[in-house]
């Protein structure tokens, strides 16, 4: 039951913030989000399914006749993403103290509501519950952008909302279709994700799987965002307030990749094998396309926004390599990107608070004015570039090596990609160095350039360089970047089991090409299917569903 606290505490906190005296709102919010973080750490330390399978199951009957239950569970991947979310939130709140000066209560309340929704997405076991949380993340984000954003905020907010909402409507249609098919064949409704997954993997014809794949992709690809449905992101990122950008890059984009991991890969494996090359090509085009666009940006925030498109391409490429290297690399990528790109957005925000511009033509040589800021800037840029020893390297490298090794003759995990995919995606490594170092070269180094003096310090009471509070926001991220660069195996060991489960059906499936047959999928762990006859809320709380043994 404790896991529910991760949802309820932020929600209660949001209410508390709304009721608190206006000067206290931010401290209340900080306290609540810190408490949530500590709760999630405690939960992670007691989490029973690090080795594989699902843990912290909890069900509450809701619409029993319709098969809907309020139920949650988590595998190690969701657990890690929950930790990322709960870690970023207090930092976002701490980072907003000086940048948000109007309508504070509302702001912090929306942030906490957003946190609850995001945690809900990662923990949901019931499909409708998942979907409600998935869509509900849009509402707080909409207001965060529309109220607290930059000049073009209303257009950005609307575009963000409608674009992602439209995509997810189609995803919903796909998911509802699967549930409908389940009822048609099994005779009762179920919205239990493991049951539906197991059913869809074997019960849908290859043609049906193809349709479902594209329906799911419509929503998740927009969220990731995958080329060519990425154009909402630069606008939303640029206009969002700092904390909004951090959450957007750090967590909301991961809802897309998490959706790919949780639904697309296990639910429609036959279609995945068929279309993985297409998705991989889109990822690679995205990597290079966005990287080249980054190169010519003048707005630093926009540059980092586009770099997210480029980076997430590696993440998706890793997933669709269909081997554990790629799976683990990709999940690690989700976390690492959250840390380093999140930190970069923080840094841009801190600079913006001082200079009120993000235009590289107006800024230069900040290393002499803001040495501490510059240190962190260079540090996180290097992490983002993928310098070995820092976190970004391990995940990027694994995604590439996975794509490389995903040729049909590879053993024990044959795939449908191959060396050429990695070779082209690898060009992204060079481009990333180009655009990020050019940015650093202009802004951090070089001759000192600052916007007009009356801008500088006029609007803010901040000192020239970072304050202890701001350093406090960045240090945890920096420490994690080093730690995960040196000790990635700590995380990779935990996700090994879950990812092996998710990919279990693929080797046989790929072997059976060019006519991938459903028989091949039958090797998938299908304990969940057996239990799916009964509405899932009848399952005893805490009982593990989904294969955690005998499915290697």
């Amino acid at each position: 039951m404790m896991a529910w606290l991760l949802l309820l505490v932020p929600l209660a906190g949001a209410a508390a913030v709304a009721l608190a005296p206006s000067g206290r709102a931010r401290m209340v919010a900080l306290a609540v989000s810190t408490l949530t973080f500590l709760l999630s750490v405690v939960m992670a330390s007691q989490f029973e399914a690090w080795a594989g399978g699902f843990g912290i199951e909890s069900n509450a009957p809701w619409l029993t006749s319709f098969g809907v239950g309020l139920s949650i569970h988590a595998d190690s991947v969701s657990m890690l993403l929950v930790l990322l979310t709960t870690l970023l939130m207090p930092l976002c709140i701490l980072g907003s103290f000086t940048s948000i000066t109007t309508r504070e209560k509302e702001y912090y309340a929306w942030l906490l509501v957003l946190q609850a929704a995001m945690v809900g997405v990662f923990l949901a076991r019931d499909l409708l519950f998942f979907y409600i949380c998935f869509e509900f993340t849009l509402v707080p984000m909409f207001f965060l952008i529309a109220i607290y954003g930059g000049e073009n905020r209303s257009r950005a907010a609307i575009k963000f909302f409608i674009y992602t909402f439209t995509g997810s409507m189609i995803t919903l249609a796909g998911l509802v279709y699967v549930a409908w098919q389940f009822r048609e064949t099994q005779g009762s409704w179920s919205w239990d994700i493991p049951a539906l997954t197991a059913f869809a993997a074997t019960g849908l014809s290859p043609g049906q799987q193809g349709w479902v794949l594209f329906a799911l992709l419509a929503g998740f690809a927009v969220k990731v965002p995958l080329f060519p449905v990425h154009t909402w992101l630069p606008l939303a990122h640029t206009e969002a307030p700092t904390a909004g950008s951090v959450i957007l890059a750090g967590v909301l984009l991961k809802l897309g990749t998490y959706g790919l991991y949780r639904f697309v890969l296990p639910m429609v494996p036959v279609a995945v094998v068929e279309y993985a090359p297409l998705i991989a090509v889109l990822s690679i085009v995205g990597i290079l396309y966005a990287a080249l666009i980054c190169w010519v940006q003048q707005d630093i925030k926009r540059l980092i926004a586009y770099s997210s498109v480029s980076h997430l391409g590696f993440c998706v490429l890793g997933l669709f390599a269909l081997n554990p290297l790629g799976g683990q690399g990709s999940v690690l990528y989700m976390l690492n990107h959250g840390l380093s790109t999140g930190a970069l957005f923080f840094l841009v925000g801190m600079m913006y608070e001082r200079y009120h511009t993000r235009d590289m033509r107006e800024l230069g040589g900040l290393a002499t004015v803001m040495p501490v800021w510059s240190f962190f800037m260079v540090f996180f840029v290097l992490s983002s570039v993928g310098l070995p020893g820092l976190n970004g390297f391990v995940s990027e490298f694994l995604c590439l090596v996975a794509a490389f090794a995903a040729s049909p003759d590879a053993q024990p995990y044959p795939g449908v990609l191959g060396p050429w995919y990695a070779a082209f995606a690898g060009l992204g490594m060079i481009f990333a160095a180009m655009y990020l170092l050019i940015m650093v070269g202009k802004v951090v180094f070089g001759a000192r350039r600052e916007p007009d003096a009356d801008h500088h310090h006029a609007a803010s009471s901040l000192p020239a360089d970072l304050t202890p509070r701001e350093i406090g926001v960045l240090v945890p991220l920096a420490v994690l970047c080093v730690y995960l660069g040196v000790q990635p195996s700590v995380l990779m060991d935990t996700m090994e089991g879950s990812i092996a489960d998710t990919l279990a059906a693929y080797p046989a499936l790929v072997e059976s090409r060019p006519d991938p047959t459903l028989e091949a999928v039958a090797e998938m762990p299908v304990e969940a299917l057996v239990e799916a006859d009964a509405p899932n809320f009848a399952t005893a709380p805490g009982e593990t569903i989904g294969g955690d043994d005998g499915d290697g």
Binding site: F165, I293, V401, L437, G441
Partner: protein, 712 residues
């Protein structure tokens, strides 16, 4: 064109490797060797703390010298303890297993050390020279005490850590870690004077050009892993020896391995076509140029190919490719070096050129010659750079050889002048008294045996040019009448403001001669360069005991003129002396003659291009800019434009407008943000409701389509 028998040797070597070389065994006893890496890391942290607490004295330098010196002592200890190749695991880094049972595979790259003679050879001079150059820098960088001083030594520490990881790592991923790490340290230190745009640009260029090579190395690593199932050296060499790749041998994926490794090596070691970053890297402080861009880091490519030497046998044309690239780079860089006026840049081009010799050595199968040349070059090139640095330091940034003359007669400059002379003699390979003579001859002679006459002649011509341009520097700068002009800055102001007065002070004053730290280091390294003569047998033994071992092909005959190893010392000596004589004529005896020759060449339209092209470095930068950077930049702008206007504005917004038109048709009064938001929300909910209500019909419809699609 490698002779057939030579190629055969290489292949045979690959096949019998497992028996020829003791495969490294894991040991748990020598964990203390890890301190070779940890000490520079501690040094980094210490320097970082110094920077954070704004230490305003030379503490960072002494800390760095102390920690790096200790690292050298640990290396020495490891050397004396060494009996057979071992691997030492420090901690788990990346260790993934794939599948279970018979199909099991894995991707293992732990933080472990691979200690054999090759890595020891490299580590000895890397840590040794690193310590000495840090000592030198303690004086050289003194004007930055309290400003960039700690940052500088932190960079040096990072470099030593990364270089040690590169050399000592027991797998290719750790090598890659060090590889990128030294690239980053290089970026850090080239851009040390970060307010100077040229330094920032040079730093960026170095990192990016290196990344191109790094991509090659990464892809090579992937291919090796795919083919051999491991990237740990000990297993890798075992599997190569046992023909693990036999089923795929001859396929493109196996034959591509040596070329991809080469790409990495050519990037890091500044060979054609990726050498353009190294001359620009001279923007960094001179100790950095000496340590990183001459003695150690740039030899990483040679180390890579020496370490992975048996893998060159995977494709018959691989070794000749290395040889030709090396020889051509040596020649091209030497021609550019002849026409430069900045003495530090001349040294940079001579480094590129000497690295070319090393690759030529690898390519003609004398790993010993290559490694020995790396070793001797590390010393004498460090001396040359450090003397250039001393001059730059003393003459307020003056590096133009036309504005310096007769230094050896200036009080306080004798040590600099004569250590530089010895460095020059080593570089040109002056007969019998210099280590450069022995190491270069080993390569040039072998080029005639297992290479081709063409390769050998290129090497000889390059030797002639080397003698000329090297002594052009010495005769101009150190010999002749005393005459000098000070430079207009100190060696790079650290920031726009603080050092302006410094520059003035140096601009008009007297040159200040080097003091103890610089002179001591110059003498020590020069001694090292001399003693390296006697280390030839030792170097041979070290290389032959490692994975880089190979039997150098012998010449067919044994007469004097049939065996290049016999006639090369004589021919090379004559070449060298001729080169020095030409330099003496043009740059000491009759300095006007050089200018006269240049103007005569320029006056004749048929030859005017030659000096111009050489002075402009054969336009490599311009060509790359036009062929690669500019088109990419245009594409970038085009894509940014398309993304903003076509993809986003026309397509996305156009589609988005359709429902709005539809909405308008029904609700003409609807406008404003919240309403449209509410409408789209309601519309969405309505859509869901419709979907659920009419699901059976929708399903039927869909199934109609799917029936067609699924059957196909």
């Amino acid at each position: 064109m490698i002779a057939a028998n030579a190629q055969l040797d290489l292949l045979t070597l690959g096949a019998h490797h497992a028996t020829a070389i003791p495969i490294a065994q894991p040991t748990t006893e020598m964990g203390w060797a890890g301190w070779i890496l940890w000490l520079p890391l501690i040094s980094l942290i210490a320097c970082g703390l110094c920077a954070a607490f704004r230490v305003r004295n030379k503490l960072p330098a002494w800390l760095t010298v102390g920690f790096l010196g200790s690292s050298f002592l640990v290396t020495l200890g490891l050397y004396f303890q060494y009996t057979e190749p071992v691997t030492i695991e420090l901690f788990r880094w990346i260790d993934l297993s794939l599948g279970t049972g018979t199909d099991a595979a894995g991707f293992t790259a732990n933080f472990s050390l691979y200690v054999d003679q090759l890595s020891l050879l490299w580590m000895l001079f890397v840590t040794g020279l690193g310590t000495l150059i840090a000592l030198y820098a303690s004086e050289y960088m003194e004007s930055d005490v309290g400003a960039g001083y700690a940052r500088f030594f932190a960079g040096v520490s990072v470099f030593l850590f990364a270089m040690s990881a590169l050399v000592l790592g027991d797998n290719l991923l750790m090598l890659y870690l060090g590889w990128e790490g030294v690239g980053f340290a290089s970026y850090w230190l080239i851009g040390y004077y970060y307010t100077r745009p040229s330094a920032v640009a040079a730093a960026k260029k170095a990192f990016i050009v290196n990344r191109i090579g790094d991509l090659g190395l990464a892809l090579g690593l992937y291919l090796i892993w795919r083919t051999f199932g491991t990237i740990e050296y000990s297993e890798l060499f075992e599997r190569l020896g046992s023909g693990h790749h036999a089923t795929q041998a001859g396929g493109w994926s196996v034959r591509a391995i040596p070329y991809l490794l080469m790409l990495g090596a050519f990037g890091k070691s500044a060979q054609l076509p990726l050498f353009v970053w190294l001359p620009d890297a001279m923007e960094g402080p001179t100790p950095v140029s000496a340590l990183i861009h001459a003695a150690t880091m740039v030899t990483a490519g040679v180390y890579l190919l020496a370490r992975m030497f048996p893998f060159l046998a995977l494709d018959a044309a691989a070794a000749p490719t290395v040889a030709w690239i090396g020889a051509l780079t040596a020649l091209v860089a030497a021609t550019i070096g002849m026409a430069q006026y900045d003495i530090k840049r001349i040294m940079a081009y001579s480094t590129v050129s000497q690295l070319g010799y090393m690759f030529l050595g690898i390519g003609v199968l004398t790993t010993f010659g290559a490694a020995y040349h790396v070793f001797t070059h590390a010393f004498f090139k460090a001396v040359l750079f450090l003397t250039c640095g001393a001059i730059m330091h003393g003459f307020a940034g003056q590096l133009d050889l036309r504005k310096l003359s007769g230094l050896r007669q200036l009080p306080g400059w004798r040590i600099t002048s004569y250590t530089m002379l010895y460095g020059c003699l080593c570089l040109v390979g002056f007969p019998y008294v210099t280590s450069g003579f022995f190491s270069k001859d080993a390569i040039m002679a072998q080029a005639f045996i297992s290479g081709s006459t063409g390769l050998g002649l290129i090497a000889l011509v390059t030797a002639l040019l080397t003698a000329y341009y090297t002594f052009r520097v010495w005769f101009r700068v150190c010999a002749g009448p005393v005459k000098y002009e000070l430079g207009d800055d100190h060696h790079g102001p650290d920031d726009g403001e603080g050092h302006g007065d410094h520059g003035d002070q140096h601009g008009h004053g007297e040159p200040h001669a080097p003091r103890l730290a610089i002179n001591l280091v110059l003498v020590l390294i020069t001694t090292g360069a001399f003693l390296a003569i006697f280390l030839k047998p030792w170097a041979r033994e070290m290389v032959m005991g490692s994975t880089a071992r190979n039997a150098e092909p012998h010449s067919e005959g044994h007469g004097f003129w049939q065996d290049p190893h016999k006639w090369m010392p004589v021919v090379a000596s004559i070449t060298t002396i001729v080169g020095i004589a030409i330099a003496w004529h043009f740059h000491l005896a009759n300095r006007k003659a050089a200018d006269a020759l240049r103007s005569r060449l320029l006056a004749n339209p048929a030859t005017a291009w030659l000096p111009v092209a050489m002075e402009n470095k054969w336009y490599f930068d311009e060509i790359y800019h036009g062929l690669i950077r500019l088109p990419l930049w245009i594409v970038g702008h085009a894509l940014a434009f398309l993304d903003r206007y076509l993809v986003d504005l026309v397509i996305v917004d156009g589609i988005a407008r359709v429902p709005r038109w539809v909405g308008r048709a029904f609700q003409p009064l609807q406008n404003g943000i919240l309403q449209s938001y509410a409408v789209s929300m309601a519309g969405g909910v309505g859509l869901v409701a419709l979907l659920v209500l009419y699901m059976p019909q929708v399903i039927k419809l869909l199934e109609g389509w799917l029936g067609g699609g699924g059957g196909g």
